[in-house]
Symmetry: none
């Protein structure tokens, strides 16, 4: 994780600072201090404060997208794929808690500044969920009447909110595997005890 060049040093410093203080409360000087560069140096690599946030977001989410894509490339079973996605997401968020925070911030708070999110890494990321679902519907193992675009949001929202606890004051006592198991159980088979009997 040790950054060799200034750009990535600033990115990881910003990730840390944004996560800790939030985008608006974070000061450029905080990031500079964390990255051990001068305030002015930051402006040699980024246009402005918001550009840093966007870069953090795109680059870090980009890495996750890349890694997730790679992990999924060798898997064909949509059920297994969702499992891989889930575990990979939770582990990434647990490993880089700061990033989990930045995603929260970027997604909710600052999308008021940049409105168009169609062509970004985040869309790519949730798109992976949608693709898994569609694939499952094509192979017939997922219900055909599930709307992939709603389901991708619902599942990402569930994952994201569950991840939020790691950064809250009270630490969760569940392991990644336990949480993944719970989420997959709910999402795949539902919480009903005998689901088959409920939709006669």
């Amino acid at each position: 994780m040790k950054a060799e060049n200034k750009h990535s040093k600033i990115i990881s410093a910003a990730t840390k600072v944004f996560a800790k203080k939030g985008f608006f409360t974070a000061r450029i000087s905080d990031i500079a201090k964390e990255a051990k560069v001068a305030d002015g140096t930051i402006y040699l690599y980024f246009n402005n404060k918001y550009d840093i946030l966007l870069s953090v977001f795109e680059e870090e989410v980009g890495k996750i997208v890349e890694k997730t894509d790679k992990l999924l490339s060798s898997e064909e079973d949509p059920k297994k794929m969702l499992e891989i996605f889930t575990i990979q997401h939770l582990m990434a968020m647990k490993k880089n808690k700061n990033l989990a925070e930045v995603i929260q911030i970027e997604l909710r708070q600052t999308n008021k500044v940049i409105k168009d999110y169609r062509n970004n890494k985040f869309s790519e990321y949730t798109g992976i969920i949608a693709n898994i679902i569609k694939k499952g519907q094509e192979t017939g193992i997922y219900k055909a009447d599930i709307k992939a675009d709603i389901a991708k949001r619902a599942y990402f929202g569930a994952l994201d909110e569950v991840s939020r606890v790691w950064n809250a004051s009270l630490e969760t006592h569940y392991t990644v595997e336990e949480i993944a198991d719970q989420l997959l159980t709910m999402f795949l088979t539902g919480i009903l005890h005998k689901p088959a009997e409920n939709t006669p």
Copy 2:
């Protein structure tokens, strides 16, 4: 929606402004202008900017909690209860899109300031989900191995993220009923086509 007294006039103005611009970008003068009062008047009713946000959050979520509790009081079936909760939530968010935004902001961004969220309206609200699940587990219709505290977060996250679309640039073309149906299907019976056969 027309507020008769200054306090509620400011609350609804703030809800609107916070939703539109976000907490940090919103200026007190924006809220004052929206509420058609002088800047100083706001400080006759609230201690500071953050107090306004907190009040918006607590009061509005409080109303929803109250309404939800009332709606659920006459229902005993945990499945129906979840349905009521879902529809009520989505309708509330659709009706007051600004509030949906403020919840997002408050929950993700500003909880860095106020850490302790155990005794607030939001906890009450997600607690309702947990209670529904526990009740269902007691009556045997919900799976006993589902952890209510994970499930409440997961389901709230799903609802919340799905609601977010109403305020994003691209409008959703689904009705409340369609979305509720999708979410309930997923959460109750899962997305697997024949879920019972998948856990032999």
Copy 3:
């Protein structure tokens, strides 16, 4: 000291508040609360905040001037007159410590607003000292080469600065009589042990 009418109730409240917090730090609402009237009521009796200060100053100093004049009217000996003035001043300041403060404030801080002090109560007051000195010079008991206008300032300054201690954090342990004795000794005979030998 109990004020029967609003005007004097406000005056004494203002004296108290100005003394405690200083003119600029004092709020109109502080004075109103102390006087047990509404904020707006103050403006029925005074034009503005500064007018209150000026009124406090003029009225209270006026009272002292009046009292001092009366006390001095039955005395012809310039030495005794200075003694009377000294004791009277110290007693007034000790009795109404708030007023001592207000004089300090008014004299040093706010004379930047109202420049002309020739026709005010304070001039009258220090004028009394000048008159005592002149009278003493006419009767030959005070040195003829003392400039009355310098001496009046010097003596008032000495009195005033010595009075300041009553309001400072550390309380003085001297009585009015002790201090008066010290000041009169210094001012009348000097601090030199054998003063006569020093001006041969």
Copy 4:
């Protein structure tokens, strides 16, 4: 008087502005404009507005204390020492009229904020007078029954009040030497024509 670095440029600008308008009426932007720096620059050198006042006070009084100490170090005669102190004080106040004002303000108005004045430059300064008096009492030329702590206040008060005239609207027509002579005459030998005969 031209300051080479920002810190001292701001100090002298602040001294000027505080003297002219008073601490509370002075705006940071006034000081900045006077010092020909941006408003924000001031906060690179001082914590807040009050810190500027305190710095002005401590630094400038510190200089005077230092200079006075030096001047007195080569003198043994308590009478000459008081003369040196007096002339030095009056000249310093005449030279830097602004400082005289700031001392007035700091001493009377703002000591409501900082209560403890025991360990500051001002105490050091009046302490010099006390020491001169004590020395004179030891050598027997000053009256033994004079209380040094009262006398130091009285004499400082006299000096200070006399200095105030230079900044008032009406200019004094006395020279430093004349005023010093008057004060020393009064304080050393008293105003009584034949003081020895008055205390038989």
